[in-house]
């Protein structure tokens, strides 16, 4: 496929690896923010071809992983109601809440449906006027434009039976939270290419300056990721800390203006709790009061469900890049993709699941 195959070319990738080798002189810790990049790194074995000086740590950029337990529990409560058709991206169905997951709700008779686009959920609402259709709106800045448009469209059409259970999170505040932690090890970032496609990269400039870290918006194919690493390493070696765009074919400095406009129209910035990390100020989006009729939390009054994580799970520490999945005593034992204790093992792009699925040979 055009624009994929070229950026998977092993010959090209190997040339970049050689360039990285020629550039690096000291140890560096680089974090890839995005779970999609983690997935690609482990799947293609990129971590295995890098010089030993470079340590990749895996960031919190997996919406499935950071969606707090109580939101999952709220989703489960709403989805269990007989009048509700609960719609979700496939990713969220297996994520365990405190007692069950959405798959179990389905097996108990709940009407839980997988959709590929939030507009499919709007269509279901249009076709089922006597049912309440709820869409589980999780994700980062990339998914926000679609979820915003779904609400906008429902409002345009006057659909009163559509709402979203929103758990939107924002990347830059999480990056700052990690950098300002006392035990931070991250020296450079690969920023998430598709988040930057929507938001642009202006908002990363103050972070790069304040914390003296190179930030490189990076794509998802092996050639992209290796080139992103090369750009970060070059800056680190030269003592520079700038925002430098690797993913030129998709990311523009100003991002996608029409998308940003509609996000602002529907959502406003709020404090959000991140699973495993805790509350980060101004790190999420919620539906504006103007559109409260489309807010499932408001509509269904699911109130304050409070829940606690499994004690043995260290997914919070893993999401902050402080430990690798294999350093967890439960990894591969009590905790595996079939019996996940934490979200990093559930999501296919969670660091633990990626490590489990694409293990290195012993």
């Amino acid at each position: 496929m055009k624009y994929l195959d070229e950026f998977r070319d092993p010959k090209l990738a190997k040339k970049i690896v050689a360039a990285i080798r020629n550039t690096v002189t000291r140890p560096w810790v680089i974090m890839e923010i995005c779970g999609g990049q983690t997935h690609s790194i482990i799947k293609n074995g990129i971590d295995q071809v890098l010089p030993k000086e470079i340590e990749l740590v895996h960031g919190p950029g997996c919406p499935v992983c950071v969606t707090p337990l109580e939101i999952i529990d709220k989703a489960i409560e709403i989805a269990s109601r007989p009048e509700v058709i609960f719609t979700s991206f496939g990713d969220m169905l297996r994520v365990p809440g405190s007692r069950k997951d959405l798959f179990m709700v389905k097996s108990e008779g709940g009407d839980v449906r997988t959709v590929y686009s939030p507009l499919e959920a709007v269509k279901i609402a249009r076709e089922n006027p006597d049912r309440e259709v709820v869409f589980f709106a999780v994700g980062f800045e990339t998914t926000a434009p679609g979820n915003a448009l779904a609400i906008h469209q429902a409002a345009q059409e006057g659909l009163t039976n559509f709402s979203e259970l929103v758990s939107h999170v924002l990347v830059p505040p999480a990056m700052e939270a990690l950098l300002s932690a006392p035990d931070n090890r991250v020296q450079g970032y690969l920023a998430a290419g598709h988040v930057c496609t929507v938001m642009g990269w202006e908002e990363y400039e103050p972070i790069a300056k304040k914390y003296k870290v190179p930030i490189v918006p990076t794509g998802f194919e092996p050639v992209d990721i290796l080139e992103g690493i090369l750009l970060v390493v070059k800056q680190l070696e030269e003592g520079r800390y700038e925002v430098e765009n690797q993913y030129l074919r998709s990311v523009k400095r100003e991002g996608n203006r029409p998308a940003q406009k509609l996000i602002k129209e529907i959502f406003e910035v709020t404090n959000r709790k991140w699973r495993g990390i805790g509350e980060i100020p101004s790190s999420g989006l919620k539906i504006r009061d103007k559109y409260a009729d489309y807010d499932a939390e408001h509509k269904f009054d699911v109130g304050d469900i409070q829940t606690n994580e499994a004690e043995i799970c260290i997914s919070g520490i893993i999401l902050q890049g402080l430990k690798k999945p294999k350093e967890c005593p439960a990894f591969g034992k009590e905790c595996s993709p079939s019996h996940p204790l934490g979200a990093t093992m559930v999501s296919s792009e969670g660091a633990c699941a990626a490590y489990f699925k694409y293990q290195r040979l012993q």
Binding site: M1, L4, R8, D9, P10, A13, K14, V17, G35, G36, I42, K43, N44, G45, I46, Q48, V49, C62, P63, V64, F89, G90, D91, L93, R94, R113, T114, V115, Y116, S117, E120, I124, G139, T143, P222, S336, P337, S338, S347, S348, E349, F356, K357, Y358, Q359, R360, L361, Q362
Partner: protein, 354 residues
């Protein structure tokens, strides 16, 4: 051995027989007049053969005096019609293939239908026609059958169970536990066609897909392979769980390591496209007309050549080998030249956005 008599349809257009009802009624499964009408008008004209025509409660078969292979499988696909096939064709080919993977020559099938009340007779007829064609193509006879009707909502349109009997040549000993270090792993063609054809035709994903299922009976391909050498160590059709699952089963049962080369595995561009969009790894997606063969290195080239003469094996390739390292584990070599573990999948492959 003599092959059972097969009636090929005279013409490709098979008009729906005129019946008392246009949809399935509970009485169609109650054993009375409507049951008889269903058998006489829908099933017998399609599946006719000497044994079935007797309408006894059992088929009486000659004992060919050899080892028999016997298998059963139940089919519950949604949607029941998908690009490249339907549940009926799948039910025939699936059981034929399970027999063929032992090296047996498939001969007789039984068919059990569970029908949902209200199913259009025309739908059932269309499926019966496609089962007739699939059985004809594979050279097997449907010699006994059963029909039950359940209340609306108790099953999704229709479920089909097929069981099959085949006869094994004396010198064939194929088993997932037979892999030897040095053996070559052969894949008969492109992967993930069936699973992606079904997934992309599901409602709610808005695909306008050109992906077509690969459902096919593999017994003739297997015969060509066995004509080359009977020294085939293992054969399996990578259905649910895909190629990755079959290779892991081989490695575990034979307590050997398997190494495959990611870039040798053929995937059609449109299938790859659908996999990319839904975030699904083709190595974990079901196939219904492909096989993986494990053969000694000395026979690998000959078996491959024989496979290339069959339309179902035209694109057969050697994708890897059996190794002494990492017993029980499958390793895949990536484009970057490094190896990683290729594990069993966990649960159903779900479309993802992350």
């Amino acid at each position: 051995m003599t092959r059972p008599e097969i009636n090929f349809p005279e013409s490709l257009s098979c008009p729906v027989p005129i019946m008392h009802h246009e949809t399935i009624q509970l009485a169609h499964g109650a054993g009375g007049k409507l049951s008889a009408e269903l058998i006489e008008k829908i099933f017998l004209p399609r599946f006719a053969n000497e044994q079935l025509n007797k309408l006894e409660d059992q088929a009486i078969l000659d004992n060919p005096g050899k080892r028999l292979a016997f298998t059963t499988d139940t089919f519950v696909v949604d949607p029941i019609f998908f690009p490249g096939g339907d549940i009926g064709e799948l039910a025939i080919n699936g059981t034929v293939n399970d027999l063929a993977m032992s090296g047996a020559e498939p001969l007789y099938l039984s068919v059990g239908f569970i029908l949902e009340e209200g199913l259009p007779i025309a739908t059932l007829h269309r499926i019966a026609v496609s089962m007739e064609r699939a059985a004809g193509k594979a050279g097997v006879a449907i010699v006994t059958g059963d029909t039950k009707v359940v209340n609306k909502g108790s099953c999704d349109k229709l479920f089909i169970n097929t069981s099959g009997i085949g006869v094994l040549p004396d010198d064939v000993h194929i088993s997932a536990g037979n892999l030897q270090v040095g053996d070559r792993i052969i894949l008969s063609g492109t992967i993930a066609d069936h699973g992606m054809a079904v997934l992309t035709s599901r409602e709610g994903l808005s695909f306008r897909s050109r992906v077509s299922s690969d459902t096919a009976a593999l017994n003739q391909l297997v015969r060509k392979m066995l004509d080359t050498t009977t020294d085939i160590h293992a054969l399996r059709d990578p259905t649910r769980g895909g190629v990755a699952t079959t290779l892991n089963e081989f490695a575990r049962q034979s307590k050997v390591g398997i190494r495959i080369y990611g870039d040798r595995i053929p995937v059609r561009p449109e299938v790859q496209g659908a996999c990319e969009v839904l975030g699904i790894d083709p190595l974990y997606v079901a196939n219904e007309g492909k096989l993986i063969a494990v053969v000694p290195e000395t026979h690998a080239a000959d078996v491959l050549t024989a496979m290339h003469t069959d339309p179902l094996g035209e694109k057969a390739v050697i994708i890897g080998e059996v190794v002494g390292d990492h017993p029980g584990t499958v390793a895949i070599k990536t484009g970057l030249g490094v190896s990683r573990v290729l594990d069993m999948p966990v649960g159903e492959q779900l479309p993802r956005i992350c």
